[in-house]
Amino acid sequence: MKKYLFIILLALSFSGFSQGIKYTKNDTIKYIVKNEIPRFFAGTFWTGVEFPLQNKKSIYLAGIATYGSNFDSEKELIGYGAEFQYRSYLGKGNFTTNFPIYMAAQLMYRHIDRFERKVSSYNVDPVTFVSSPVYTEGKDAFNVYYAGLLIGCQVFVNQIFTVDLNFGGGLRLSQATDSKSFTKYKNISNLDYSGVVPRVGVVIGIIQH
């Protein structure tokens, strides 16, 4: 907890010294198209658009598509989802900065179909005694609901693109499609975990004037 406070204080102190564009100048920005690149490692294409509003507010709408494995070749994930953020950029007056800091409320929904194959037995070659696995395949599906808060910093580079770094946390509730209750006894690293989870994001955006 002390670490988080230290990071926030450090970021805020840097923003105080910054000299750059006025954030109000960003009113000339029509929108910023964004992609969360690290999500590709989890077989997910997570892309969205941030629309600036007045008074240093903005909204961010993102679509989520999943197809592939999540570092586990025995599992195949296929799914879709959406994310909404309401952002409030911090600071009083028309301060100038190239890396405005924001706080955001975040809502997210995802649906995942998970295909899993398991070795059910082995065929052993009677001559060479080489064993080959016999697989059986199963499928389950679940819905994930998430609500949380984010603190982030959006770095503007040459008025061309942005690098958006954020962290935060919230409550994730996962529900199997064939169940009425939320999941229990799942590991926090699983997509179908229910509970409070942290969140860290690195998002690249292209500015459209």
């Binding site: 992609n35 590709f40 197809y67 592939g68 570092f71 070749s73 080959s132 008025q159």
Partner: protein
């Protein structure tokens, strides 16, 4: 082989394009592909002050006994032959193939210099590979050669930065992602249950690399 000759002719034909005074042509080599036992040579040519077109040729000649040994050893070429329901594991693999890579680059900024600076591009590539390996015939101690044909496709985007040094050399680094498709000729549908770093993966995929080029 015919495919390779046809693609090569298209590449060479591009050399005769009429060039405007402010146009350029870069020839680039993708360093990341080299570690995968592949050579990718790309040719980028300006279309106007903001856009350029990049056409790349990919050639693969790799084996588990060569430069690409670490990369190929990470793969899992196990497959089930339908007729006998036998699982084969291709361990000592030789991969030969080719492909093309297309990009339409948009250089970013209010007054961009085409060919230099930040750019955004859609990217498409198609590759074909022949995988050859010796495997043990079930219930015997006899080895046989197995050949599998793999088709790979990719549709995505990249954001990158290209820097030109002394009007001679270019360094082009990029990162992006998209959808990667893999299909074996002897199997229905795209591959499944593969890890993202495997050559025959199907799914969303992170794409990044560094290209070194010369300015013509």
């Amino acid at each position: 082989m015919n495919k390779l000759i046809f693609i090569g002719l298209i590449f060479i034909a591009g050399l005769s394009f009429t060039q405007e005074e402010n146009s350029f042509t870069y020839y680039k080599w993708d360093l990341f592909r080299a570690a995968q036992g592949s050579i990718q040579i790309s040719r980028e040519q300006a279309l106007n002050n903001r856009y350029s077109f990049s056409f790349g040729l990919i050639g693969t000649y790799a084996s588990t006994r060569g430069l690409a040994k670490p990369y190929l050893k990470m793969q899992n070429f196990e497959y089930t032959e339908k007729s006998t329901n036998t699982i084969y594991t291709l361990s000592d693999v030789q991969a030969i193939g080719g492909g093309i890579n297309l990009q339409l680059r948009r250089y970013l900024g209010k007054k961009p210099t085409v060919g230099s600076g930040f750019y955004l591009t859609p990217e498409v590539f198609y590759r074909f590979l022949n995988l050859e390996s010796e495997v043990l015939i079930p219930k015997t101690t006899i080895n046989q050669i197995v050949n599998r044909n793999l088709k790979l496709g990719y549709l995505g985007y990249s954001i990158g930065y290209q820097k030109i040094y002394r009007e001679m050399l270019s360094i082009d680094s990029y990162v992006g992602g998209g959808f990667f498709m893999s299909k074996y000729a002897d199997q229905d549908g795209f591959t499944r249950f593969r890890n993202v770093y495997q050559i025959d993966y199907t799914g969303f995929y992170l794409n990044m690399g560094v290209l070194i080029g010369i300015v013509k």
